[in-house]
Symmetry: C2
Subunit: 148 residues, 2 copies
DNA sequence: CTCATGTGTATGCATTTGCATTTATATACA
DNA sequence: TGTATATAAATGCAAATGCATACACATGAG
C-alpha cells in the first residue's frame, strides 16, 4: 500500500491519546485556574529550571525538554521573566544565546502550585489506573517520543 | 494524606502523556499543513458528522464526542460552515438547538485528508509500537476518559 | 580572512483559544 | 400557571499560538 496505512489498533491508540490528553489536560488546567494559579506550562518550565539549578538552562534546551515550539518558549519565558520567576542573562559561551535561571519567587511559585497540581494529576490519571497500569502506560508513551 | 498524592508512576505517566501527545500532534499537524490541508480538528468533526449521517448531530453531541470546549466547538463549526463543509439548521425538537450535517464538499475534504492523516499517524504512533502495544495503549488511554 | 550556511532567539501579524457573559428556550416545581 | 433554574449556543474581548521572517552570532570551507 503506498501511503503507509496504520492498523486499526494504531488509529485507535492515536485517537484515544488525543481524547485522554484533552480530558486530563482540561482537568488539570481547570483546577489550577480555580486555585488562582498560572497554567501548567509555567510549572513545567519552573521545574526544569529548578532541576538545572544553579547552572540554569539555555532556552533551546528547555524547549527541547518541554517539546515546545521555539516561539512559544520564547514567549513563555517573556511571561515568566515579566512575573519575576525567571532570570534571563546573556550566555558567556555563545554570543547569540541566553541562560535562564529560576528566581526565589519562581521556586516559591512552583511549590505553591504543586499540591494543586498533584491533586489534579491524581484525579485525572491516578484515579483511573492501578500502579501496574501506570507503569505500563508510561513505558508505552515514552516510546512515542524517545530520541534514538 | 489530605491532598491525594499521585505515585511516581502516575506522575510519570501523566508527564509522558503530555509529551507524547505534543510530539505526535505536532507531527500530524505539520504534515497536514505541508499538504495544504486544514487542521486535525476539521477531520475529527467531519468524521463524526459523516458517521452520524444522515440524521446529523447536535453541536453539543459533537462537542462531547470530541471533548471540545463549547465555545471552541461553536467556532470550529463557524469555520466549517463558512467553508461549506457543514450545514447548520434549526433543530425541530429543541428550539434552542441546531442540527449539523456534513455536505458533499465536507465528505470530499475528509477523503482528501485521510491519506495524509493516515501516513502521519503511522509515522507518529504506528512506527513506534507493535500491534500488541497499540492495543494495550489504546485500552489504558481509554480508561482515562471513560464515562461510567 | 571571507563568505556561505547553520543555529539561537525574537517579533509582527493573523488566527485560535480562553473567559465571562448573553440570549433563547426548556424543564421542574411551588 | 408562573417562576426559578438548567441547558444550548453565540459572542466581545483578552491572551496565547502559529507562521513567516528577521537578526545576531557561530562555524566551516575555500
Amino acid at each position: 500500500m503506498h501511503p503507509p496505512a496504520p492498523s486499526d489498533a494504531i488509529v485507535r491508540a492515536w485517537v484515544r491519546l488525543e481524547r485522554a490528553h484533552r480530558a486530563a489536560q482540561s482537568t488539570v488546567e481547570m483546577r489550577l485556574k480555580q486555585a488562582n494559579l498560572p497554567p501548567l506550562a509555567w510549572y513545567d518550565a519552573l521545574l526544569e529550571l529548578e532541576r538545572a539549578d544553579p547552572a540554569g538552562l539555555r532556552p533551546f534546551e528547555l524547549q527541547k525538554e518541554m517539546l515546545f515550539a521555539q516561539y512559544n518558549l520564547s514567549r513563555l519565558v517573556d511571561r515568566l521573566e515579566a512575573a519575576g520567576h525567571v532570570l534571563r542573562s546573556a550566555s558567556e559561551e555563545d554570543g547569540r544565546g541566553q541562560v535562564l535561571t529560576i528566581t526565589r519567587s519562581g521556586r516559591a511559585l512552583r511549590q505553591r502550585m504543586w499540591p494543586v497540581y498533584a491533586a489534579a494529576i491524581e484525579a485525572a490519571v491516578g484515579s483511573h489506573l492501578s500502579e501496574t497500569d501506570a507503569l505500563t502506560l508510561g513505558e508505552l508513551l515514552g516510546r512515542l517520543y524517545a530520541k534514538p
